[in-house]
Amino acid sequence: MNKNEWPIFEIFIRSKNGLEHRHVGSLHAADAVMAMENARDVYTRRQEGVSIWVVASKDITASNPENGGELFEPAEDKIYRHPTFYELPIELKHI
């Protein structure tokens, strides 16, 4: 690998105040400042955002799809975490 290849940054944009930053994509840049400038140019040319976060991709630890089972299956049979598990008469209001 070329040692001088620019690192990847993940870009998060807040489309308007009140909403969370959402992942929109990634880009290469020499550092975070450049990543910010490039993200502005790439992802907010049509006023898509009011705030940008750039995060070096190497700093993100992602779950491995192969581990999906052990991570997510345990929630499948925990139906008692949902409101519908509890049997209340339908005539009851506001609950």
Binding site: N17, F85, L88, L92, K93, I95
Partner: protein, 318 residues
């Protein structure tokens, strides 16, 4: 005109226009402080609130009840986490907030200073205490500070099951044996008034309300929320065949609301000031958990530091 005043006017104009305020936006110092206080106290309430209910997990009367309660208490820990994180965006650290709680400088909801004496109390808490919390929290989903409002949206999604599991417990007891029905009535008797107190002092005694409404921190006053809770809850108690312990409670056709009796404000202030039945026990349990857990936190950090030095050695030699 000083630039500071100008900023404050601009800030108010943004709030009036229904805009959300985000952590890096300029905000009046008092807005920041009020939020740090309110959000951290809300967070403390979530985690201290785990204690009275945790008390019954091992003694739940069936597996169904046990998994429900366990899942609820687990959710409350999550609620604490969402809220501590929201407060951290305003520049206070997690440790600072814990310190304020442990030193008795920060408050949490007084309701959790009452004991859970019988299994029926778990039903009453889910139904009434989570019910009251939901009314407050639904309002807060529209609060002006973005991170707080978003935490509230998450929390409200999870609360519905809390209240339903509580009501299901009450329903089971109320339709059970005479003894079970008496348990349910006794729990309602003890939790009714403290639940009404959860909405805080009367508007007339609540000097911060005006500013909070102006900044859209609160969208309704304490008295409005309390009335809303009573109006919703009375028919639910009737359905259970239980009696709300308030002889003055009656429907007022003209107002379109229930009239209700006077809250014992002396009791309210006593509990707020630390003299409730369980204040010492609750705080003691939190401090104990923090101190006893210190070695775990330290060990995890030591392990992480060790891995870092080893990794940097590896990458240098590679």
């Amino acid at each position: 005109m000083s630039p500071e005043i100008n900023l404050e006017e601009q800030f108010q104009a943004r709030i009036d226009a229904g805009e959300k305020i985000e952590p890096k936006d300029w905000m009046p110092e008092k807005y920041r402080k009020t939020h740090i206080r309110q959000i951290s106290q809300h967070a403390h309430s979530e985690i201290v609130g785990m204690l009275p209910e945790g008390n019954w997990i091992t003694r739940a009367p069936s597996l169904r009840r046990k998994v429900g309660l366990l899942a609820k208490v687990q959710d409350e820990a999550g609620h604490g986490l969402y809220l501590y994180s929201a407060a951290e965006t305003l520049g206070i650290s997690r440790d600072q907030m814990f310190d304020q709680l442990h030193k008795g400088k920060a408050k949490y909801s007084s309701i959790f200073n009452y004991p859970t004496l019988s299994w029926a109390d778990i039903g009453a808490i889910g139904w009434l205490v989570d019910g009251a919390a939901i009314i407050n929290q639904v309002m807060l989903t529209r609060t002006s500070f973005g991170p707080y409002a978003r935490a509230m949206v998450r929390i409200c999604k999870e609360e519905s099951f809390h209240q339903r599991q509580g009501y299901e417990i009450m329903l089971g007891l109320a339709k059970g044996t005479l003894e079970q029905k008496e348990m349910a009535q006794d729990a309602l008797n003890r939790f009714w008034w403290p639940s009404l107190m959860m909405f805080g002092p009367r508007d007339a005694e609540s000097p911060n309300t005006e500013q909070s409404v102006k900044w859209k921190i609160k969208r309704k006053t304490n008295d409005e929320l309390r009335q809303q809770f009573i109006d919703i809850t009375v028919p639910q108690a009737e359905y259970l065949g239980l009696t709300i312990p308030d002889p003055d409670l009656k429907w007022n056709e003209e107002r379109g609301h229930y009239d209700f009796g006077e809250i014992d404000w002396n009791e309210f202030w006593q509990v707020v000031k630390g003299n409730g039945p369980c204040n010492k026990e609750r705080l003691g349990a939190r401090v104990n958990a923090w101190e006893e857990g210190a070695w775990v936190r330290d060990a995890a950090m030591a392990y992480s530091a060790k891995n870092k030095t080893q990794n940097s050695k590896v990458s240098k030699t590679a």
